[in-house]
């Protein structure tokens, strides 16, 4: 459980809140790169950390993330004309560049210098890999650009999707840290999903449904190791890294691509689930890419023309199939790993009341993550301490699945496997 004030502290991410300040220490995904596919394409509304923003790509390809509303009369610039290196408000023609600087006010004489006095709040927006990243903190504290492996490999090796989730970001993150639910909620998918099936490790997963957990702190966050029995007294380990504040990576299966998530607060009651898949040493096959586009693995099919709303969502009861549940084709009656997770996380309500929960010792990964988030938020607010996960060196992590002798700690036995090594595939069983 968390006390009420702790739950408030850790779930609220708007401007001026401690956890909001924490999030504003990092480069975080703001959009998929494909949402701004070409110069002068239509602008896109972006709401993150409870701020209404607008992203656009100008005539020369510069990206901008600015206050959504025109400084003149408060019109949404989503209606704006993206032309000649700026976004022009269609109401009275005020025009802004990618830094939010007003560069034209047609009603005022240019020599008056009036437009120089108008500037919208803006944040940097940078393309790295398949995402556009922003940093929303104080400019003087802007850290170096992120160095996540999935965003650094060639485009052909990586895939990124996003979906809208109607729950506080922490509910979603905690699902990613909680490895023990996999043996139940997702048990039907291990041998059927094209992005999971066929791996030798699945046999260990299905053969030992009572994994033992070890949680170990690492500089950027945690490693959560789930241990199952393998042959000859050895242990099969699945090791999940969590890097603060909201990055997790699922341990790999065979030669399948490796996947992971970022959970980005939209506001306090909604978040974006960004889901990536990549292979460190080879391009994704057409079959893999098609499966990801169709919503297999950790991805979800979304309704075309909507803002990444999943096809199965709370407004259609997640297409609940009681017959499939009864027959054991799915454990919960909901199809697909992503929606199995989101359906349960959304069912908790927009912000779950953690004063009522009853955690058990296998929830130590969640307990430790909360502890570290609160500690970092307080240290930042009180003493200006840079939180873990800001340093790009903390991004060079990998998940791993590996068989080790019983007397070997996973952090030691998998030491090499848990660090990015260019040209070397993930350690995977």
């Amino acid at each position: 459980m968390l006390r009420k004030e702790q739950n408030e502290l850790i779930t609220r991410t708007g401007p001026g809140t401690p956890t909001g300040q924490l999030f504003r220490s990092y480069w975080i995904p703001a959009l998929l790169a494909e949402e701004l596919p070409e110069n002068e394409c239509p602008p896109v509304r972006v709401k993150i950390l409870s701020e209404r923003l607008l992203a656009f790509r100008d005539t020369e390809g510069k990206y901008g993330l600015i206050d959504e509303f025109c400084a003149h009369r408060g019109v949404s610039l989503w209606f704006g004309r993206n032309e000649e290196n700026g976004l022009r408000c269609p109401y009275h023609g005020w025009k802004y560049n990618t830094d939010g600087q007003c560069i034209d006010v047609p009603s005022e004489a240019p020599e008056s210098g009036f437009c120089q006095k108008i500037k919208l709040k803006s944040y940097p927006l940078v393309k790295i890999g398949p995402a556009l990243w922003t940093y929303m903190g104080p400019p003087e504290k802007q850290p170096p650009l992120p160095e996540w492996e999935f965003a650094k490999v060639p485009d052909s090796h990586s895939f990124l999707s996003k979906r809208f989730q109607e729950a506080n970001w922490l509910q979603a993150l905690e699902g990613g840290i909680d490895s023990s639910h996999v043996s139940f909620l997702h048990s039907g998918d291990l041998e059927s999903d094209p992005l999971f099936k066929g791996a030798k490790g699945n046999k260990y997963n299905l053969g030992d449904t009572r994994p033992v957990f070890e949680v170990v702190e690492q500089p950027g966050g945690l490693y959560i190791g789930a241990r199952r029995n393998a042959e000859e007294g050895k242990y099969y380990w699945r090791i999940t890294p969590w890097v603060m504040p909201c990055f997790t990576m699922v341990p790999p299966r065979g030669d399948h691509p490796v996947h992971g998530h970022f959970w980005i607060p939209i506001d306090d009651e909604n978040c974006w689930a960004y889901s990536f898949d990549y292979h460190a040493t080879r391009p994704l096959t057409d079959a893999e890419r098609n499966a990801m586009c169709e919503g297999k693995g950790i991805h979800a099919a979304t309704i075309p023309g909507t803002n990444f709303i999943p096809t199965a969502n709370k407004h259609n009861d997640y297409l609940m199939d009681r017959a499939a549940q009864k027959a054991g084709r799915t454990y919960s009656g909901v199809e697909g790993i992503a929606i199995q997770d989101s359906s349960l996380q959304e069912s908790m309500g927009p912000i779950v009341d953690r004063t009522k929960e009853n955690l058990v010792s296998t929830d130590n990964g969640i307990i430790m993550a909360r502890h570290r988030l609160m500690r970092a938020a307080k240290a930042l607010a009180d003493k200006g301490v840079t939180p873990p996960g800001v340093d790009p060196a903390h991004h060079h992590v990998r998940s791993a699945s590996i068989v080790l002798p019983p007397d070997q700690p996973f952090k030691e036995g998998a030491k090499e496997a848990l660090v990015v090594k260019e040209g070397v595939p993930h350690a995977s069983v």
């Binding site: 033992v212 070890e214 170990v216 702190e217 309500g349 927009p350 009522k356 929830d363 700690p409 952090k411």
Partner: protein, 170 residues
């Protein structure tokens, strides 16, 4: 028309959740396995807890070893210095938390672990590395705890134990 899920997951609906206790306090026994951990456990015991109890040390009639009912011959010292049978405490526990300092051999873990196994009580091991422990030191302690704990945590600050106990409603 709104779906069942859409109607029932609003903040408005959350107000109608039953406001009654949904659990009884759990008996959690926190046992220091070595000298340095004793100080941490003693400090923790000064807090307000539901049903947590704290033990400063474990001792045996003869040197500890795994197997052959050794847990029957093990004793705990509570913070007031009283000697209590390990088996009696484990028998009344919902969870046993063993606290060890990285680098310590934590030999008592085997005896406590066997007592827990005999009584079907979950055992959690918590290793404090204080940010300064070497991998080797952590490995030494992990090795002793691993066979007997269903959950192991290596924490770099001792505040974590309090967070964990609060989270578990100790």
């Amino acid at each position: 028309m709104l779906s069942e899920s859409a109607r029932m997951t609003t903040a408005e609906e959350a107000k109608f959740r039953i406001n009654a206790p949904n659990s009884k306090p759990r008996a959690i026994k926190v046992i220091a396995l070595d000298q340095r951990s004793q100080a941490v456990v003693k400090k923790l015991a000064e807090g307000e807890w539901n049903q947590a109890s704290f033990f400063a040390s474990v001792h045996f009639d003869s040197p500890p070893q795994a197997g052959a009912d050794w847990s029957m011959k093990a004793w705990l010292n509570d913070l007031a210095g009283r000697t209590i049978k390990l088996m009696d405490e484990v028998n009344n526990a919902d969870l046993v938390v063993m606290v060890a300092n990285a680098g310590e051999k934590a030999e008592a873990a085997s005896v406590i672990g066997e007592a827990c196994a005999a009584k079907r009580v979950q055992a959690t091991g918590l290793i404090l590395d204080r940010k300064s422990a070497t991998d080797e030191a952590i490995s030494t302690t992990l090795l002793h705890l691993r066979p007997y704990a269903s959950m192991l945590v290596v924490a770099d600050d001792e505040d974590y134990i309090e967070s964990m106990l609060v989270a578990l409603r100790a």
